[in-house]
Amino acid sequence: MAAVSGLVRRPLREVSGLLKRRFHWTAPAALQVTVRDAINQGMDEELERDEKVFLLGEEVAQYDGAYKVSRGLWKKYGDKRIIDTPISEMGFAGIAVGAAMAGLRPICEFMTFNFSMQAIDQVINSAAKTYYMSGGLQPVPIVFRGPNGASAGVAAQHSQCFAAWYGHCPGLKVVSPWNSEDAKGLIKSAIRDNNPVVVLENELMYGVPFEFPPEAQSKDFLIPIGKAKIERQGTHITVVSHSRPVGHCLEAAAVLSKEGVECEVINMRTIRPMDMETIEASVMKTNHLVTVEGGWPQFGVGAEICARIMEGPAFNFLDAPAVRVTGADVPMPYAKILEDNSIPQVKDIIFAIKKTLNI
């Protein structure tokens, strides 16, 4: 008996030694996730975590989402949680707000925010103002999300940026993710927030992959609403942006770095409540400011930043007037050359930075 077990035991030791020698561990390739998949993941995790969360909108269920952002969710969660609506923005936005008042946690998708104008009364008068008007009795835990701003060749009625319009209103929170990490962290925070949150996504960013840091892969990964991120440290000038233009700012910064100009690029992440502290601290360091946005110049996000800089401690640190880079002050044209020149390009950002720095 002992002889047999001895026979068995020795080969095992030899085998395990073999195993140790043959197999070795390599670091995994950095995880790349598109913005679309990041939003999808974020919604999926929150739907799983809290059964009061549900998604409604046009084509979100059986079509997998007009832009495939909600792909797979209907198959997983079914008709009760993922609801296809008729083309009735005012009606279904109101239904979503009512459901939120009654204690559910709806995600209301607008196919694009241009269509939210049909429903804007429900967003502002029924959702944003209610907690205040009721003296704190009636919260409205709702998320309005969808693509915002310019796309490619979709012309005037489908290209408007609503950051300034929604950012104007007390009672709303407004976020504007740029990359995948932003998209996942912000949609999760928005869904968990007990207030109406407008999430301004960007259609052109949906398909863009970004490296997903390990912490972003957690089911509890949240990005706080109201906090900006410094994407790139710099010393000569502060460049503040939100959404897709953040990428253009980083491109401009890379070009300028070769010429010895170091830009500090701030990704706002949240439009309201705006993180002025981060912007001010940066301006007090660099003494120069350029804001970059896709929306129209009048009464825009950049205009608000400039006004607040003037009112705060950073004004005295400016060595030049603050400058805005924005979309052109026209309804978006269709022809490519016209459209390209109606949104801020990298060259426009570089030009504005050099003008501000007087170089």
Binding site: F54, K80, I83, T85, P86, S88, M90, G91, F92, A93, G94, I95, A96, V97, G98, A99, A100, M101, A102, G103, L104, D121, Q122, N125, S126, T130, Y131, Y132, M133, S134, G135, G136, L137, Q138, P139, P141, P170, G171, K173, D193, N194, N195, P273, E311
Partner: protein, 370 residues
Amino acid sequence: MRKMLAAVSRVLSGASQKPKCDLHRLEEGPPVTTVLTREDGLKYYRMMQTVRRMELKADQLYKQKIIRGFCHLCDGQEACCVGLEAGINPTDHLITAYRAHGFTFTRGLSVREILAELTGRKGGCAKGKGGSMHMYAKNFYGGNGIVGAQVPLGAGIALACKYNGKDEVCLTLYGDGAANQGQIFEAYNMAALWKLPCIFICENNRYGMGTSVERAAASTDYYKRGDFIPGLRVDGMDILCVREATRFAAAYCRSGKGPILMELQTYRYHGHSMSDPGVSYRTREEIQEVRSKSDPIMLLKDRMVNSNLASVEELKEIDVEVRKEIEDAAQFATADPEPPLEELGYHIYSSDPPFEVRGANQWIKFKSVS
């Protein structure tokens, strides 16, 4: 004498017969007879009288400039708010537009809190932040200022009822003026498609502000306007009609058949709001005729007295008690202080840590607490 009457009447209850309601896509309507117990009768009487006197007190306070802004009174329409409440449970839900003081009371708030909200004091139900059109209570979602917007909201509350699976229904009210809003038809469509337990209720008081129904609607059969949604038209001045119709409608919704539409034919004595005398688009004779023939409180009183459910003296006693309650509430509403200025920024966001809110200039800051 009264005690004896009371003892006998507790056993007695009145039976009432009414003509059938007009029906749309319904084989049967609510029952044409019902039983009114003395207890219920007295309760309804007291509630309607309270709403009546509360609205008249609001009229008075408005003329004294103690109430400001918009003030839309519902005197004449008491059978609607009291009758609807009698037909549902406290766990059901209700939402209406801006002529909401009566519903705020029937849904459970006190006259004190309502009047103090009208006078903009800190003891108001919304701490003075909302005013006449923005009062909220448990399972009562206002009080909504934008005509028609409350209807999709109500359908959404009904969606939540269905989602939660608790057999609750949502009463979603709107007026004859609002009935022409597009978003109401969007709500009809989705409620029917998804079989939401929503009772759409058109409170037809014949005038949308200064515009009569004939001048505003191509079809004034509001109970049919839901098209594929079954409907019924109800005498909104008779509280028992309203109650029975509501019970019928609620049972319909609770059975999972989907939404239903009720038109309550009613009348407001006041103009559209306090700035409208209400006689430029209708005659004083018309108003007087409704008062003398169809006043809801008078109708209930006559019915109770004629069935020996209560004596005239008894009801007069209730009148006296109600008057006192209203007086006390008005006293409170006039004496209570305004909300503290420091709280101007409160209640912007729910469940958030405190932050700063900008005032009229950059140096004026208000703290915002949830």
